[in-house]
Amino acid sequence: MSFNNILVPTDGSEFTKSAINKSIEMAKVTGATITAVYVLDQSVYSTMPLDSTVVNLYDTLKAEGESAVNYVKEKCDEASVPVKTEIVEGIPSKAITTMSKGYDLIVMGTLGKKGMTKVLMGSVAEKVIEKSQCPVMVISAVANTA
C-alpha cells in the first residue's frame, strides 16, 4: 500500500487549489511524485460543426489546460516535490478513471469552475470514486474553507 504516484486532475479553477495544496502536503509526507492532468473535455465541442469556432474553442481549452497544469508544476517546484504534467482529451471522469490504474492516489476537490458545475463537479468526484482503480482523496467545499 504505497503513496508513490499521485494523480491531481485540475481544471484551472479556484476550487482546485485546495486539492493541489493537499496533494503537495501528501507528497511531502510520502515522498511521492505528482502528475497534474487537465482533461480537455471533448463533450464541450464534439457536437459542434467542424469549423473555425471549434478550432478556436479547442485552442482556448488547450491554453486553459496548459495554464492549469503549469500552475501545479510551479507549486510543486516551490515545494521541491517531483512533478509531471499531462493534457489528455476525453470525458473528464472517464479519462481520470482510465489513468487511475497507474497511480496510488487521486486527489480532487468537489467544486468545479462553472456555477452550475457546483453539482456536477461533485458528481465527477463521485464517478471517479465508483470506478477508480486506486483510492481517491476528496477535499470538500467545506474542507476547502476550513
Partner: protein
C-alpha cells in the same frame, strides 16, 4: 507534520479492510495515529468491538497507535461531526447499502471538514 490524526470508520463486513491498510500505511509515513470508529445500531455491540480491536492489532504490527471509538446512530452524521477533529478520514465503500455504503461515502465527501480518502473495497 501533516496527517497526524487519522479517522477510520469501520464496519463488521470487512468493507473497510483495504481502507484500514491504507490508513496504517499513511500513519507509518506521517508518524500519525488512528482512531477506528465503529457506528452501529445498538449499545454493547460485541461484533463492532471485535472489528475495532482487529484494527488495533493490525496497527500494533506496524508500530502504529490505534485507539477505538464505538458510537450509535447515523454513520454519515457521526462521521461528519467527527471530521472537525481530524486531519484526514480514510474510509472504505462497498457501493452497496451497508454501513459503509456508497451513500455514506457520498455524504461524507460532500461535507467533511477534512479531506477524505475513499478506498473502494476489493471484496
Amino acid at each position: 507534520m501533516s496527517f497526524q490524526k487519522i479517522l477510520v470508520p469501520v464496519d463488521n463486513d470487512g468493507y473497510a479492510d483495504d481502507a484500514v491498510d491504507k490508513a496504517i500505511a499513511l500513519a507509518e509515513l506521517s508518524g500519525g495515529s488512528i482512531v477506528a470508529l465503529h457506528v452501529g445500531n445498538k449499545a454493547d455491540d460485541k461484533a463492532g468491538q471485535v472489528t475495532v480491536d482487529k484494527v488495533v492489532a493490525k496497527g500494533k504490527e506496524k508500530g502504529v497507535d490505534v485507539k477505538t471509538e464505538m458510537a450509535t446512530g447515523s454513520p454519515a452524521e457521526i462521521i461528519l461531526e467527527r471530521s472537525k477533529d481530524y486531519d484526514i478520514i480514510v474510509m472504505g465503500t462497498s457501493g452497496k447499502k451497508k454501513i459503509l455504503s456508497g451513500s455514506v461515502a457520498k455524504a461524507v465527501i460532500r461535507s467533511a471538514s477534512c479531506p477524505v480518502i475513499v478506498v473502494r473495497s476489493q471484496r
